[in-house]
């Protein structure tokens, strides 16, 4: 059995909570970003691109590339690698520019 990152640093996190990802609960630890909580749950993609409809998730992990965008609490185009996964945060897979409601 290989060790985990949490075991490596002797982490004793506060109690886990949940965020909502596309209608299902995903566990999150206090202090984790939304992207980290999704990775921990084995989810690597939470956006489809505007042109090709291709899946995307974290690329740069530091807020520079904007690949990890998702709709968070109803607001599209949020960088999930920067936003904390707070209790009750709702994350929705973003399709294209995430503004389908503005289509005419």
């Amino acid at each position: 059995m290989r060790r985990t990152p949490a075991e490596l640093v002797g982490a004793e996190p506060g109690p886990a909570h949940h965020i909502d990802f596309d209608g299902r609960p995903v566990p999150a630890l206090p202090g984790q970003s939304i992207a980290a909580a999704l990775w921990a749950d084995g989810v690597l993609a939470w956006r489809t691109t505007r042109v090709g409809g291709r899946p995307r998730g974290v690329f740069c992990g530091i807020g520079a590339c904007f690949d990890c965008l998702a709709t968070v609490n109803g607001r599209p185009n949020q960088r999930t690698c920067l936003l904390p996964a707070e209790p009750g945060t709702t994350v929705t897979t973003q399709e294209g520019h995430g503004r389908a409601d503005l289509a005419i």
């Binding site: 290989r2 980290a36 974290v58 740069c60 936003l83």
Partner: protein, 470 residues
């Protein structure tokens, strides 16, 4: 929260970026009697190099994910003491989007929090740029698949969130960050079937004197090397990942040997199964806040554009100083030395001669490292017509080649106007080097980004109102 220059007292020095350079600069400047603001987009100090878990994760041993962690805790302790004494204000969650020269110094324009919900302007007599670097990427078929992440990104997510992108992670590209990333990943429990490095590391041997002058660098390299040996990680030199495979996520990569110019050698391809790939080709200085003010730049031996500074770390713009990666990528020890030097110069105090010598040795090593990992021209040999170059706007190689070969575009700006490559969210940070290369313009010039990060229109309007009323 302060919202206009009249609301807050003017600082003697605003340090932008709380990584190694900025931390060292702020605490040294405060030691010398200056009143400093230390701004960072993140909520914690440390920058990318000393990125660490948020307090809620309760990490007892964050040092196990770091080289030289005690240097950080030393700086953080000094910062805390200065904060208590009111000599330094750490302003976390402050993303600087522009610097403006005012009659008596600078207005530092800031957007607050990851959602850019509010704004602020921090007035200061002088500014020290310590904004670090981001990774240089070279596209290859499949690089947009989920599970393909930057080497620095894999480290950042691990250091801050204690998570991994997969269980079997190939590390590829070029530069010393690859060894550091692979070493952290295996220590944290991932399997790393291969570290794929494009160069042969022979570049370091060309100037053995420079290497011998910085023994700590050899020890650091040996530390990563022994972790990799212990976990039986195979180091494949003069090789590159030439394709990532998978439909909805990466499931394997193809690795090929490269010739001395980084051209893939046909017939040498082999497939490695994996569920993630961490890739990067060195680092690029993040300097747009300075270049927007007209600061002069230089192109380093790695082909990256950095700020031109004098021996005191002063840029060509009055009152604008720069320390660390913004002066050419060279690592944390160099960044700390330059931060200390710059702080002395801003305070108009002479630095210790030993500090000046140490900085010179580390800077010489940085130049050697930069030359050793400079991408070779043959890398375009692994591209295919349908490989996306610009990730944001989904612009493939074929459209860029069409703009260059049929429509006569000879520089990245014209390619951008014709194809939208570099016009998306990231403002060309990911595709910039590749587009410049494909445009045939040789060395890229400094990036021009009037806004260093996205700023809501409402905040720009508020800025106008404040200026009109001011």
């Amino acid at each position: 929260m302060p919202t206009s220059p009249s609301d807050v007292p003017r600082y003697d020095l605003a340090v932008i970026g709380a990584g190694p350079a900025g931390l060292a600069a702020a605490v040294t400047a405060a030691d010398l009697g200056l009143r400093c603001a230390l701004l960072d987009a993140g909520r914690q100090t440390g920058g990318q190099y000393y990125r660490h878990p948020a307090p809620g994760l309760g990490a007892a041993r964050p040092d196990r994910l770091h080289h030289g962690w005690s240097a950080y805790t030393g700086l953080a302790d000094r910062l805390a003491a200065h904060e208590r004494a009111g000599r330094v204000g750490f302003l976390g969650g402050h993303q600087v989007w522009a610097l403006e020269r005012t009659g008596d110094g600078y207005a530092v324009h800031v957007t607050l929090g990851p959602e850019a919900a509010d704004r602020a302007t921090v007035p200061a007599a002088a500014v020290l740029l310590a904004t670090g670097a981001y990774e240089r990427q070279l596209p290859f078929p499949g690089w947009t698949l989920p599970g393909v992440v930057t080497a620095g990104g894999a480290q950042a997510m691990l250091k801050a969130g204690l998570v991994l992108p997969g269980r079997r992670i190939v590390v590829a590209g070029s530069g010393p960050l690859l060894l550091a990333a692979a070493s952290s990943l295996v220590t944290a429990g991932a399997e790393v079937p291969a570290v794929v490095e494009a160069t042969a590391y022979l570049g370091y041997a060309r100037r053995p004197g420079v290497l011998a002058a910085v023994p700590a660098k050899l020890v650091e390299g040996a530390g990563h090397g022994s972790a990799l040996l212990r976990h039986r990680v195979r180091l494949r030199l003069r090789s590159a990942v030439v394709e990532a495979h998978g439909t909805d996520r990466v499931t394997a990569v193809t690795v090929a040997r490269l010739d001395a110019d980084w051209r893939p050698v046909p017939g040498t391809e082999r497939r490695i199964d994996c569920d993630a790939l961490a890739v990067g080709h060195g680092l690029l200085p993040q300097i747009e806040l300075a270049t927007e003010l007209g600061a002069a730049t230089r192109t380093g031996p790695d082909g990256a554009v950095a700020l031109q500074v004098d021996a005191r770390m002063l840029t060509t713009v009055p009152g604008l100083w720069s320390a660390g990666e913004t002066n050419g990528v060279g690592g944390a020890d160099l960044a700390i030395a330059e931060g200390e030097l710059a702080a002395h110069a801003v305070a108009d105090r002479a630095p210790r001669p030993a500090l000046v010598r140490r900085r010179a040795r580390l800077r010489a090593f940085a130049e050697l490292m930069a030359a050793a990992h400079r991408p070779g021209p043959g890398w375009t040999g692994w591209l295919r017509p349908d490989t996306d170059v610009c990730r944001c706007e989904e612009v493939p190689v074929a459209r860029i080649r069409e703009a260059v070969e049929e429509l006569g575009a000879g520089d990245p700006r014209t390619v951008k106007l014709l194809t939208r490559a570099g016009m998306g969210w990231c403002q060309g940070r990911m595709c910039g080097p590749a587009v410049a290369w494909l445009a045939g313009s040789g060395e890229p010039g400094p990036d021009r980004r009037p806004f260093a990060c996205p700023v809501p229109l409402s905040q720009l309007a508020a800025e106008q109102r404040a200026a009109a009323e001011g």
